[in-house]
């Protein structure tokens, strides 16, 4: 039964990690544009170096 003392906190910790990840994702605007995210996977990358790279990087700020 002593294994419970280890497993229950572990389960809780994992749950909390998931919850934290969800909160983070929500705060960083990942649920703002669900249709867009679904479509973006179809975009071909032409030149991964510039301006698109900048575009992707500043996304979080611009979505607010």
């Amino acid at each position: 039964m002593t294994i419970l003392g280890f497993l229950i906190p572990l389960a809780l910790l994992m749950g909390l990690c998931g919850l934290g990840a969800f909160f983070w994702a929500m705060k960083s605007g990942q649920f703002e544009d669900l249709d867009g995210a679904a479509n973006r996977i179809l975009i071909d990358e032409e030149n991964p170096a510039d301006p698109d790279a900048a575009t992707g990087k500043t996304a979080g700020r611009l979505q607010k």
Partner: protein
């Protein structure tokens, strides 16, 4: 790389500036601008807009929000909004400045619900983990320990995730009313208190799992409701912003700057281009043009105006650019009167009580007296106080309106989703409830029964080559007549000709060369009745006249509405002659020359007579009527004011979504009633068990999830129903 989103909030501003420096000169500061681009429909469009804008010198970043049909651009100050709109136009997208996000508050609400749902989900899973062990036979010390851990998880979770319900219940009680949240709150609080007592005394039954699960299901219902609203509103927000939100104001040195409507003051001189709408009342100081006042008064025929004439905010310039001296702005415009009427008219609607709250008026007292009776009954039968209280609480838990909380939103979300795919955006669930009660439909004429855009009367005057040249010319201009001509020709399947040296002269028309000959789209040399343009090919000159046509499926829609037992009529602000023409063509009763207040009074009369009128209208003059009607729908091309006042907005050229909406709303309410019946049936089975004192936490948990799943499953049938109805509707339309 197109990573969906990375958080920049944490980053140092210095690094941000460094990023920008890679693209443009380091000394300049960056500003953010937002534009709505309704034309984005696919992944290709996202890439085109982002790459096209990103390649522009001075633009640091561009990011598309596809759901809201917006693009956010971070750019150097030297680059003006107009330059960016022009850049988008060369990319092939019509764009408009987007105002501050009016939906931010709604978004915050959805987000708060999302967080509460996540917390409840976390709590539910972990408490259930412990509860399953208890149900499968853990006892004595292990059970007590598991109950304590459950309490440790559940109490903070309930405190956090229950807030939306507690706040709403407190609000209702403060006004001495009751709503769905009152029985929920009482049930949750009593069950939590009871379970804590059980835990502390080492008793066998703790209901933490049931309470947290209840909150989870109820929050899921609320979340569905909120998501439906925010989806519809972001769809509508993408349509907004096309009406005079501001104007180009002439500076003393001859340059122009863009001023928002609130910033306009009497004495300023606005430069109003063709196709723009006025942001303030004023007097024309230079130029002659044609003004379309359909939005403001419902008049369909454009009116020629010149120097010295007064024109009002909300009118659209159809002809040449003019200079207008502002005489009244913001609160003093003719529009402001309409806004005041709307405010008054809108109040009656806020008194509408939604079906869930109506149900809870009977439900809550019934449940609470039942629990009280159970408590007294067991006391009289000789049970100890503790046992009687336990049974009363288990009655409350088992009757907690878990399925009821889901019964309405689940059905409405499914129906609204199906309607959205058919081109109708419904703002909230209460609109669907009110739509189902409609018994009379009132249509505005201009822009509602008709397209509200000038279209060429007869394309037959053009030969094949002429049509190709006309399309190539017309699609290069933003002038309303050019746009009408271009879209009519595109619908006819015309392919544009290849032209050289195309140029547009404001007030004159478009010119180009086609295989060596001079071709042009010019305004007629002398004034003609109504709207017209001349197509010039070499020496030949062809006149194309324009009119505002009926929407293509108007007759079928009226027939479909009558089939559902609804009386239809026209209330128009237009003159008698043009209203009669449409009324006779459609076989409808019509009233003409109605002022905004007159339309509102007519609706009030109908409502007092016990009718539930549906108002369909687009103009600013329809605003008060839209706000005052039992329920209202506006077309996607309507004025901002109308779209905000209406309960639903339909997009596209067809009127059929109006008929579909009523049909879908009625079907939705039928399913909602079935859901209520299912929930009652569940109660009829479960309550005797609870009264007999046989409900353990396991039974409560099973009953609750089973009833919720049944209700959700029943609601999902609506997706198929709505699809079938739409197909049947279009089939009937095709046959008629």
């Amino acid at each position: 790389m197109n990573a969906p989103a990375t958080d920049l909030h944490a980053r140092e501003p210095k690094q941000d500036a460094g990023d920008a420096a890679a693209v443009q000169t380091p000394a300049e500061t960056l500003v953010d601008s937002r534009f709505t681009v309704p034309g984005m429909r696919c992944a290709g469009c996202i890439a085109k807009v982002e790459r096209g804008l990103g390649a522009l010198p001075g633009v640091a970043a561009a990011r598309v929000n596809f759901s809201a049909k917006r693009v956010a651009v971070s750019h150097a100050q030297a680059l003006s909004d107009d330059d960016l709109i022009e850049a988008l136009r060369t990319l092939g997208f019509e764009a408009e400045r987007a105002g501050d996000n009016p939906l931010a508050r709604e978004d915050g609400e959805t987000r708060a619900l999302g967080r509460a749902l996540a917390v409840a989900g976390f709590g539910m899973m972990n408490v259930m983990l412990l509860s399953v062990s208890v149900w499968s036979g853990a006892d004595a010390v292990t059970r007590a320990m598991f109950h304590w851990i459950s309490a440790l998880i559940a109490v903070p979770v309930i405190a956090y995730a229950g807030r939306p319900f507690f706040a709403s219940a407190a609000m209702a009680l403060r006004y001495r009313r009751t709503n769905m949240d009152v029985p929920i709150t009482i049930g949750v609080l009593l069950a939590t208190g009871m379970s804590l007592y059980e835990t502390a005394t080492g008793g066998p039954h703790a209901y933490f799992d049931g309470v947290v699960m209840l909150l989870f299901f109820l929050l899921a219902g609320r979340m569905l409701d909120a998501m439906m609203r925010s989806r519809a509103r972001s769809g509508i927000a993408a349509l907004l912003g096309r009406m005079g939100k501001g104007a180009h104001v002439l500076n003393a040195d001859g340059t122009t700057r863009y001023v928002l409507a609130e910033g306009l003051a009497p004495g300023m001189v606005m430069l109003v281009a063709a196709g723009e709408s006025l942001a303030a009342d004023g007097v024309i100081v230079a130029g002659y043009t044609t003004i379309d006042s359909a939005m403001l008064t419902g008049e369909s025929d454009p009116r020629p105006v010149g120097e010295g004439d007064t024109i009002h905010a909300g009118m659209v310039n159809l002809g040449d650019p003019v200079r207008v001296k502002v005489t009244a702005a913001a609160r003093d415009t003719a529009l402001a009167d309409i806004a005041r009427l709307m405010d008054e008219a809108g109040q009656s609607r806020s008194r509408y009580v939604r079906i869930a709250d109506r149900a809870s008026r009977f439900y809550a007292p019934a449940v609470h007296s039942l629990a009280l009776l159970a408590f007294l009954g067991w006391l009289l039968a000789g049970a100890v106080l503790y046992k009687a209280l336990l049974i009363a609480v288990s009655v409350l838990i088992i009757t907690c309106p878990c399925a009821l909380g889901l019964a309405v939103p689940a059905a409405q979300v499914v129906a609204a989703g199906a309607l959205m795919r058919r081109g109708l955006l419904i703002k909230d669930g209460s609109a669907l409830e009110r739509l189902a009660e409609v018994d009379e439909v009132l249509f505005d004429k201009t822009g509602t029964l008709t397209l509200g855009e000038p279209r060429p009367l007869d394309l037959g005057v053009l030969d094949e080559e002429g049509a190709r040249i006309a399309l190539a010319l017309a699609q290069a201009s933003r002038h309303p007549l050019s746009r009408g001509l271009a879209s009519a020709l595109r619908e006819a399947g015309v392919v544009p000709a290849a032209l050289e040296g195309l140029r547009e002269e404001a007030g004159e028309g478009l010119q180009a060369r086609f295989e060596g000959t001079l071709v042009a789209l010019l305004r007629p040399e002398f004034e003609v009745g109504g709207l017209a343009v001349d197509l010039v090919v070499g020496a030949a000159r062809t006149r194309i006249t324009f009119a505002d046509p009926l929407r293509p499926d108007t007759r079928q829609t009226i027939a479909a509405l009558r089939e559902q037992g609804l009386a239809c009529s026209i209330v128009s602000g237009d003159r008698e002659a043009s209203v009669r023409q449409v009324a006779q063509a459609l076989g409808l009763f019509a009233t003409h020359s109605m002022k905004p207040a007159g339309k509102l009074a007519l609706l009030e009369r109908l409502k007092r007579a016990g009718h539930h009128p549906l108002m369909v209208g687009d103009g600013l003059n329809d605003g008060p009527a839209l706000a005052g009607a039992h329920v209202s729908i506006a077309p996607g091309g309507a004025s901002d004011v109308s779209q905000q006042a209406a309960d639903a907005v339909f997009v596209g050229a067809g009127l059929m979504p109006v008929a579909l909406a009523v049909r879908a709303a009625r079907r939705t309410m039928a399913v909602v009633r079935q859901n209520f019946a299912l929930a009652c049936l569940y109660n009829a089975l479960a309550v005797p068990l609870a009264l007999a004192g046989l409900v353990t936490p396991l039974i409560a948990a099973l009953a609750m999830s089973a009833s919720s799943l049944v209700v959700v499953g029943n609601s999902l049938r609506l997706a198929r129903c709505a699809g079938k109805a739409a197909r049947a509707g279009s089939a009937a339309g095709g046959g008629a």
